[in-house]
Amino acid sequence: MTMDGSPRQRIRRRLLQGGAALALVPWLSARGAERDIADIPALAAFLAGRTPRWERMRLDLPALADNGQAVPMKIAVDGPFAPGPYVRVIRLFSQRNPVPEMATFEFPVAVERIEVESRIRLAGTQRVVAVATLSDGVLYAVGADVVVTIDACMDGT
């Protein structure tokens, strides 16, 4: 570390360097998002050129699945919603499964708490993306990576 300059100048330099790194984060997320859309044709087809906002959503999946046959999953969209636009549909996409459109969850009646839990099947290590459509047409999205390993011992029963 260079030690020239007054303490104030050093602190300013550190803040600038940190800020520069932080400034990269949205750009990296955007790069990741672009990759998601490129990697998942079904997602690209659904978006049809629209850009979702990669914020306000949570997709909870284990980093390492106990078993690819049943991986607990939680999708959430952070409120508040009322009195403004509310969540109408959430779609879940798989990068690697034979059927990439994993599920669609619909909320015909507005509800303040948008949380959906289920258990999904994953055909191997991959990325999963959830997209929420709000009543004003705005899209939000979030992705998560899951590592799925094969069983240590085969079960032939």
């Binding site: 046959q69 049943a70 991986v71 879940l92 798989s94 499964n97 034979p98 059927v99 459109e101 994993m102 599920a103 669609t104 969850f105 619909e106 909320f107 015909p108 009646v109 507005a110 509800v111 303040e112 708490r113 948008i114 949380e115 959906v116 839990e117 289920s118 258990r119 999904i120 099947r121 994953l122």
Partner: protein
Amino acid sequence: MPDARVNVPAEVARDKPFEVRVLVRHPMETGYRTDDGGKAIPRNVVSTFTCRYNGETVFSAHLSPGIAANPYLRFFVTARESGQLTFEWIDDAGIRGDERAAVTVV
């Protein structure tokens, strides 16, 4: 086998969201498995699941083989009036299932 297990809180607060948990008995057959003779086992999954609250649809799910066997769903519904939740689903073979649960709003 029972069609499903449903869990709803005993009492729910008016105008607040309450938690609904459903566990449906279904193999969610992917269509990619083969039997011992090597023949493909046809796909059969719960394709549509609907939750109605006093007759009004408040939640529905369209599922695929990407949802695990014996599907579990947890979601929230806004409490309005006391009454009933009815759950209905249908699978690829056209077999329907249903379950209901009482809602007591306080």
